[in-house]
Symmetry: C2
Subunit: 332 residues, 2 copies
Amino acid sequence: MIQTILLKNRPKGKPTLSDFQFVEEKKDLNLQEGEILLETTYISVDPYLRGRMSDAKSYVPPFEVGKPITSGIVAKVIDSQNDKFQQGDYVSGMMDWKTQQISKGEGLLKINKDLAPLSAYLGILGMTGLTAYCGLTQIGKPKAWETLVVSGAAGAVGSVVGQIGKILGLYVVGIAGTDEKVAMLTSDFGFDHAINYNTTEDMGTALKTACPDGIDIYFDNVGGPISDAVLFNINKFARMIICGAISVYNNTEIPKSISVHPFLVKNSALMQGFIVSNYSEKFPEAMKQLSTWLMEGKLTYKETVVEGFENTPQAFLDLFEGKNKGKMIVKV
Amino acid sequence: MIQTILLKNRPKGKPTLSDFQFVEEKKDLNLQEGEILLETTYISVDPYLRGRMSDAKSYVPPFEVGKPITSGIVAKVIDSQNDKFQQGDYVSGMMDWKTQQISKGEGLLKINKDLAPLSAYLGILGMTGLTAYCGLTQIGKPKAWETLVVSGAAGAVGSVVGQIGKILGLYVVGIAGTDEKVAMLTSDFGFDHAINYNTTEDMGTALKTACPDGIDIYFDNVGGPISDAVLFNINKFARMIICGAISVYNNTEIPKSISVHPFLVKNSALMQGFIVSNYSEKFPEAMKQLSTWLMEGKLTYKETVVEGFENTPQAFLDLFEGKNKGKMIVKV
């Protein structure tokens, strides 16, 4: 039996389980020349998928209603009519939310399960790590001793950003939403300081205290009031890396915040939105650097692994409740 | 009699005449070795001076209460004990709002009154022209056929930005606040299209119609709702050059706008605030280019000249009512 998860309807505001549909088919998948048969091992669920569920003009085509969701997946080659892939190989790439599927191998990367656990290729050695590395280095242009603030710091991307910041000699402050996550940032990921935005009344003052030399780089995963508070503490020539805006993805009306213009003019500051594929020419360098740091023990990562293909939609919904620590992954 | 204009108190919200104080002194200015005596000819009044009247942390030190305002000035050398300056020379630079003053010549530029009218050195061949040129080329990185939108387009900087845009082969749309200004943008400055934001109900739709290929570059002098409307029409990799925010300079509370984060992420877009001195290494190239274009007749400019030193504060206040067309200058 092959199971598939389709987008049933475009979510209004926060997605719910009823926006997804499960389909079971009994069919034999017969390979043509050049094709491979893949069995899904791990599925990545990510906040950015919410954007593709809307039909708004976007940088990538929106998902189609009635068609499978796609995201980063690690799969095992269980049959092959393609010379480049052998039975038993593992691959990563963008694939459908299916338990089995046929591919011609385009866009798939063969991965080495001896170098790192398979799930790492959806995280620190996948889009997550590349996003953290490329955003911080290409937009942030960090210099040693500068102050880096990371929002969504206990999330998949944020926790890697903070660690790279420390490797590069920055002073790193993380923002997260529970005391447990905040403790994890300093004890497990080596952040210099961490702030719980849910228990902090005045984030502006808390950031001022935590960053006595002001903020040079802000890696922003959340948007909203946390990012507003950062603006009051930026230095001249600050770089704000706008990676995500999870705090507003589910808003049905255009959210308001303070006007950034006076802060940008006064501080000659930069805000740059991005998606990781903008920097694809940097991927080989980034992968080499990330795997080196990982093997040297300079980088660590957390995963929240949910078991069972059928729990994929719920795992996605849990992202918006902050239930993950580090990368959220479904083990099929 | 030497007249001076002091900052009497820091304005709350919109400045008024009572925030300025006139002082008259009868004194002989005796020169020491190395000094020159200057008689003020033209005074530049600019929106950015509002920022320096507040005591907020800023990129330049705020004006001191009880001390003279300073701004761009053209002055005549009427006496000299400095080998580098002769009686009869004209100079431009940052000077006090005084009818006469003594200087050591530091930071002053000798200007050529045969190349362009003296007042041009406060405008198109001064900070105004440099701001337009450096902002558009260094941050905007324009490519021929791209679409450029300019807000505050009939102002000093905006009218130069639009003309440079046309010289560089862009499609240029200007936004201004009266029908007269809008007509001037297309007839005198060669903009492709212009929009009157005061008579346009839905700026988002008006921009969409005016920019059928979307907006690649936005040169922003105003901030506020006009800039919000631009966000809905930006293309992927849009560059938003944040030069000023005249619409909010006088606000006493932090103004709110729509949240820029989702737009920046979705479009991999950039917002960069700046002041012209960030690009001082580009000034020689910029001056050469601007004066060449001016002599070739490719660039033109408008001035609103107010007569009389005593009218300097009112001329400054009139900037916030949009009473100027092009550069606002006081002739002493």
